[in-house]
Subunit: 151 residues, 3 copies
């Protein structure tokens, strides 16, 4: 088992996969932060300490909170496939330089995507980083399936 | 490491997992397609090039877009567990024939599920493919935990 | 390959990962149960057997259904990172006692979180179990990246 973690490609995958996963987890606390500062909650028990009239005011959606939630869901929809395909790709013995290129572009694209989403950067910045990340995953899938294919 | 990719069960898992993951990724571009053709966007920066009145018209939800998004989320909720359980199952040394049966039924069920969802096929076609996929994951989990159990 | 499943840490990860994944899958049938008992559906084809007036009544959201769906999404947002980080952590050769501690606390926290969410337990029970689970994932990521780091 220790052998896996002695392979440079697998070590690189581990590092970049951990970084984008941590980035994705952080969207949770960012949502909590926006909920608290914007006063926007969904569950009644979260505002149980408020009086009747105030309660209603706090149980409303807020555009900033919804924006972070969409960003979080987009992460799930894109980082999950990257991990799945990337893990199998890393195990299929690619060139280190090629693997690093894939992992680095994806990680950069997704970090930029989050900033573009939350800071409302003008399009097509968000769209391009979204498609760039997807392109990396497709490229790894192509490389993987051209080596390993067993239907 | 290369040894993993010489195992037939692992090769089969790699192939089918890549196929269903690619199918799941494709829901992203399909959503984009429906957003563009139905003129339904959520983020203001996505319609920045429109004039005031038109902007409002484009910032509305559309049933077709919402349908694809539900289909995408359903994929996440079902393909993610398949990958998790399936990866560990493939590592637990099952019979190749039994593994292939699991992977093939799941892949078929999920591809059918997407068509049933997006083309609005009459129920219970969507419901049955949903439960069939889930059943496959449960069956792999049962086989896995009856071999490997360490609490 | 069989070697992986002879390692106690990997066996423990397999067991706990399978348990939390099965718990997450179960949110699907729980949602179906609430949809049926609360009479709340989203897709028109799901209520095709109802007459016109009744149809509308059944195509409404219900707070209990929305609650389970939020709980399911929260599971995805937290159990997915646990699996990603936990898998790589288990492969990095941690102490068995330390690994078991991480896996057990996470599993306990997430099972409690689901009950807290669905049974509407007063806060901060849900919030604490949410952050406890996240803390476990961060701790594994720290341990992992302090051993394996290849940028």
């Amino acid at each position: 088992m220790a052998q896996l973690m002695e392979d440079d490609v697998f070590k690189a995958f581990t590092t970049y996969a951990a970084i984008v996963t941590l980035k994705m987890i952080l969207m949770g606390p960012v949502t909590v932060y926006f909920r608290l500062t914007r006063g926007s909650f969904t569950n009644e028990e979260d505002v149980a300490w408020k009086s009747g009239e105030e309660k209603k005011k706090f149980l409303k959606s807020h555009p900033d909170v919804e924006r972070v939630r969409r960003c979080h869901l987009n992460d799930l929809e894109n980082i999950v496939p990257f991990f799945f395909i990337g893990l199998l790709y890393a195990l299929s013995g690619p060139e280190l330089s090629s693997a690093l290129l894939h992992f680095r572009i994806f990680t950069g694209a997704r970090i930029f995507h989050s900033f573009a989403y939350i800071l409302v950067l003008p399009q097509p910045s968000r769209g391009l980083s979204y498609f760039l990340g997807m392109l990396v995953t497709f490229s790894m899938a192509y490389s993987l399936l051209s080596k390993v294919f067993f239907l």
